[in-house]
């Protein structure tokens, strides 16, 4: 039989965004349930839905099916003091840190070079230790509208000690089980393969946690390779990943993941990734940001003036594998 209290066996000491399911419900309550055209520019989307200090969660990352164009716009608009959820991040966190946009990072995994290392050492950026799975799971808790979820990892590590997880005695089995707090980001940035003008979206291929991230977040900004007709959505309801009523903005962004890949559409631009890597190694990141972000007004302008049609066509031609995605 169950006891009158549940022992709290251990708890992490890390700072974390406190869960508040009722507040998250109020966000949802106030959204428009009607089918309204949500298409806006990347500039308007970031102005409206990303504020200084926002907790930002993106999916996947700048290497694969991530909202690279939206992250560049965040840098272009010089947003400040963001708290990132780096659940299997790539060099996105480095880029945003180089742009001076970030002050806190919940870390699962991310590409780390001197820019992150220096920012941490100088105290400009504070890290909070989690894991990819723990962060994906915290988003799931947020998506379920519950304050926490139990899980069977994280315990016993320094990740646990530096996190917001806790260890309780399970009232059913009497065995120790960890809990992690839900996270409900201020804004989700998700790059999708297709969606309609209302935000009914399709994500092709394996992924990180696009559904959990969208469902957990206050604002949901989609960038999409392609805008399709709602009739097509209604013909194949099983293909929909995210329903319109959670979506706040739809940004049409072909090559939106560039320099990363959207599997089935275009390869990653390895030259560009090497250019980025070299810029970081050589302390030339300002020049990189100037060239690829500040000196161009938009994603489209970057594609036209920095990438070029020939390169874009080459990256598409190189992506010979479309099976399961578009065929």
């Amino acid at each position: 039989m169950m006891a009158d209290t549940v022992p709290m066996l251990d708890r992490g000491q890390g700072e974390f965004r406190p869960p508040d399911p009722d507040a998250a419900r109020r966000w949802a309550r106030d959204k428009d349930r009607r089918l309204v055209d949500k298409r806006i520019t990347e500039q308007a989307a970031v102005e409206r839905f990303v504020a200084d200090g926002s907790y930002v969660s993106y999916d996947t990352n700048v290497w694969r099916r991530g909202p690279s164009s939206l992250m560049r716009e965040i840098i272009r608009q010089r947003k400040r003091d963001l708290w990132l959820a780096a659940k299997f991040s790539a060099h996105d966190a480095t880029l945003l840190t180089a742009g001076g946009c970030v002050s806190k990072i919940d870390v699962g995994w991310m590409e780390v070079g001197r820019i992150i290392t220096d920012a941490v050492r100088d105290g400009r950026v504070k890290m909070y230790e989690w894991t990819n799975g723990a962060l994906a799971y915290r988003h799931l808790a947020g998506a379920l509208g519950v304050p926490f979820l139990p899980l069977r990892f994280v315990g016993g590590t320094d990740v646990f000690r530096y996190s917001g997880a806790c260890l309780i005695e399970d009232p059913y089995t009497g065995q120790p089980v960890c809990l992690v707090p839900a996270v409900n980001p201020d804004v989700a940035l998700i790059h999708v393969n297709q969606c309609d003008i209302y935000g009914n979206a399709r994500v092709f291929g394996p992924g990180l946690a696009p559904v959990e991230t969208a469902m957990a977040s206050r604002y949901v900004v989609l960038s999409t390779e392609e805008i399709i007709d709602t009739e097509e959505i209604r013909k194949h309801p099983a293909s929909t990943t995210i329903p319109y009523y959670v979506v706040d903005a739809v940004v049409h962004a072909p090559f939106g993941c560039y320099p990363g890949s959207v599997p089935g559409l275009y390869r990653a631009d390895l030259e560009h990734l090497m250019e980025f890597g070299a810029a970081q190694l050589n302390g030339a990141m300002d020049a990189y940001l100037e060239k690829w972000i500040y000196s161009v007004a938009s994603h489209t302008e970057m594609l036209e003036q920095r990438v070029g049609l020939a390169k874009m066509q080459q990256l598409q031609a190189d992506e010979t594998h479309t099976e399961g995605y578009y065929t």
């Binding site: 309550r29 469902m215 709602t230 309801p237």
Partner: protein, 284 residues
């Protein structure tokens, strides 16, 4: 719209429930039954933009009418949805606060909008009548922002004490009772729709409150068919009978099989007084 002179109690209940529905809200209904028919009727009449989510994971379908006879087993009922998910997923959406209104059929209801779909009469261990259980009603009534109940006005249905509290209203009616039971704040019962009377809930006491009565009925008539006493305001509205147009759409488009709308006939004379007939064949 010309008001009808004969219709079943279920037709009246479905019609009144449909009238409450608004195009900018998202509704949560079970698979088949009067609540789904009310949503379909509202979409055909005044609120074509209404979106609804079904317990089986169907999100915002646009079913082409006339509706099939056996909705619960018909793929057509899920057709032209924007997404097909599953039961847990739509409950998550409700838990997250995305679903505005739950619309549910109740077997027995009390003064605080708690309701019963488990058993009636006898004891829990030896029930006179055992029902199918709450199904999704308990989560829908707990997680949606507002809950509308549909039931017939009968003394054995509007009771002081439920035989079994299957699904939550305002529980004991005390402030914060739902929150103390683990439910989201700001949620609760909104309307109770019957064939003769429409109820809301008193903001202060959370007790059921009489809002409108059908012309062939009266406050006294309504109270005489309730075990508990609802709040009765000075002014009670008139519940306009179903119109010919409403019934026409309901009978030809929404439930052409007649399975769900069948019930006891209400026949009105010129002065809109009711002359009840015997239960119709197949009445539930």
């Amino acid at each position: 719209m010309s008001s009808a002179t004969s219709f079943t109690d279920n037709e009246a209940i479905i019609t009144y429930a449909a009238r409450l529905m608004e195009g900018q809200r998202l509704y949560f209904v079970a698979i088949g039954g009067p609540p789904l028919l009310a949503v379909l009727l509202a979409k055909q009449l005044h609120a074509p933009a209404i979106a609804y989510v079904v317990e089986d994971g169907t999100i915002a379908p646009e079913m082409r009418l006339p509706a099939p006879a056996f909705m619960i087993g018909a793929g057509l009922a899920s057709s032209r949805a924007v997404a097909w998910t599953d039961m847990n997923t739509v409950d998550f959406h409700a838990s997250r606060g995305y679903i505005d209104d739950g619309v549910l059929a109740a077997v027995q209801v009390d003064a605080y909008g708690n309701f019963n779909s488990t058993f009636a009469g006898g004891s829990y261990d030896r029930p006179e009548r055992r029902f199918g259980g709450p199904g999704g009603a308990t989560e829908i009534a707990a997680l949606c922002w507002r809950t509308t109940l549909m039931t017939r006005l009968q003394r054995r249905k509007f009771v002081e004490k439920l035989d079994f509290v299957s699904s939550p209203g305002f529980l004991d009616g005390s402030p914060g009772a739902r929150e103390r039971a683990g439910m989201p704040s700001g949620t609760g019962p909104y309307r109770v729709v019957t064939e003769r009377a429409l109820f809301g809930f008193d903001d202060d006491t959370r007790r059921m409150k009489l809002l409108a009565v059908a012309p062939w009925s009266s406050v006294e008539d309504v109270l005489s068919d309730m075990e508990f006493e609802p709040v009765v305001p000075a002014h009670v509205e008139t519940l306009e009978p179903p119109t010919e147009r409403e019934l026409d759409v309901l009978r030809t488009q929404v439930d052409p099989s007649g399975r769900t709308i069948a019930g006891d006939w209400i026949v009105l004379d010129d002065s809109r007084e009711a002359i009840k007939s015997a239960p119709a064949v197949g009445a539930s």
